[in-house]
């Protein structure tokens, strides 16, 4: 049993993986303009570090809203696959979002949670996920039938491929370590929005240098 490990950790099992490595593995599988909405903090720090993409949306605030934002984008862009990436602390703040996703059942949405059992960015305070809450079980209970823990990197990639190939909604849980986020997206909300909307065709392509 480690600092964050308890009976729940033993039950969930699997490997504690590196968040940045998993993020890179996800991005490497996205070859058809798939959309990624990354939650506040380390989720979007690592997404940016994995290589800027115009189809990435970086949340600079609004903790807990990565899954709702991704649901809205998925409904607006039904021909693109959409991934939400959220930390466990953020997801715990708004578990109801999983119920809404299950009810609306967007076929193109996969939600991923990075679970390190802590509120890492605020100093590593213990989160309910460390000792009590199995977020994959929560997602399944909320009605997202296709919910699974990725117990190692290969299984994570397989679950992402399933999301790319099959019908959603889906939920992927991954236990990750507590390395700090590797990059920082530019903290310019309007720029983030503009790049994203043009990147997915929701606004006309940028006319070029002005």
């Amino acid at each position: 049993m480690d600092a964050t490990g308890t009976d729940l950790r033993a039950k969930v099992g699997g490997t504690v993986m590196k968040r940045l490595d998993l993020t890179r593995r996800l991005v490497a599988l996205l070859t058809h303009g798939e959309i990624v909405v990354a939650g506040i903090g380390n989720a979007n720090f690592d997404l940016f570090a994995a290589g800027p993409r115009p189809e990435n949306f970086y949340m600079l605030g609004s903790m807990s809203l990565a899954v709702p934002i991704a649901l809205g984008v998925a409904l607006a862009q039904p021909t693109r696959k959409v991934f939400a990436i959220e930390g466990d602390g953020s997801l715990l703040m708004n578990l109801g979002a999983l119920a809404t996703v299950a009810m609306v059942a967007p076929q193109n949405l996969t939600a991923i949670v990075w679970d390190n059992g802590t509120y890492q960015i605020t100093g590593g305070q213990t989160a309910a996920t460390a000792e009590a809450t199995d977020l994959v079980a929560v997602a399944r209970g909320a009605g997202i039938v296709q919910s699974a823990w990725a117990r190692d990197e290969a299984e994570f990639e397989r679950l992402v491929r399933d999301g790319l190939a099959g019908r959603g909604p889906r939920f992927i849980g991954a236990r990750v370590n507590q390395e700090p986020g590797a990059g920082r997206p530019e903290r310019d909300p309007v720029l983030v929005k503009d790049r994203f909307m043009r990147g997915i065709g929701a606004k006309p392509a940028h006319p070029g240098p002005v």
């Binding site: 605030g61 809203l65 809205g72 109801g96 979002a97 997915i200 929701a202």
Partner: protein
């Protein structure tokens, strides 16, 4: 036939709003039913008002104009989503708030938050209008939605009991 709600639905859909998400409220029933029945609108409930704001923000980012509907008490759940998402990212989500806590309120706990709505919207720089008269609904709603979309800013419409009748005890 319900005049004010049909007018709002027509103004919204004429201006391209295609996603509506809400936390239910009794006064909003004719709007909720109308949006649910509209073939060009995706309408569904969210579990919490800030979640509804997030969904509407995502739709807006995806190119699908959107609105959220809530009761005034639920407005108390959304300031951070407004302050850290809709306002700084300049997302033109239209926020409809049915007003409890005024003009015959019977429940004391509804009153304080009703006093917060307009000062909070003002502090956030979100333009708002209060709909009180049926003959003004089309003008105020159309202009508010148009300005939101053209200036890429959220806007709020407050539904007064003067318009809706509000909710009375019993």
């Amino acid at each position: 036939m319900n005049g004010w709600s049909d007018t709002i639905i027509k103004c919204f859909t004429d201006r391209g709003i295609r996603l509506v998400t809400y936390v239910p409220d009794k006064v909003l029933i004719p709007l909720l039913d109308g949006f649910q029945a509209h073939p060009g609108v995706t309408a569904f409930s969210a579990t919490r008002e800030e979640e509804a704001v997030g969904i509407a923000a995502g739709a807006s980012l995806g190119g699908m104009p959107s609105a959220v509907l809530m009761q005034s008490s639920g407005f108390g759940n959304v300031p951070n989503a407004l302050a850290s998402l809709l306002v700084p990212y300049q997302l033109p989500v239209v926020i409809v708030i049915s007003e409890r806590g005024v003009l015959g309120e019977f429940n004391a706990v509804q009153v304080p938050i009703a006093r917060v709505i307009r000062p909070a919207l003002d502090a956030l720089g979100i333009p708002h209008v209060t709909l009180e008269r049926e003959d003004e609904v089309a003008f105020l709603v159309t202009r508010s939605v148009h300005q939101a979309h053209r200036t890429q800013q959220p806007a709020a419409l407050i539904l007064s009991p003067r318009l809706t009748g509000g909710k009375m005890e019993g």
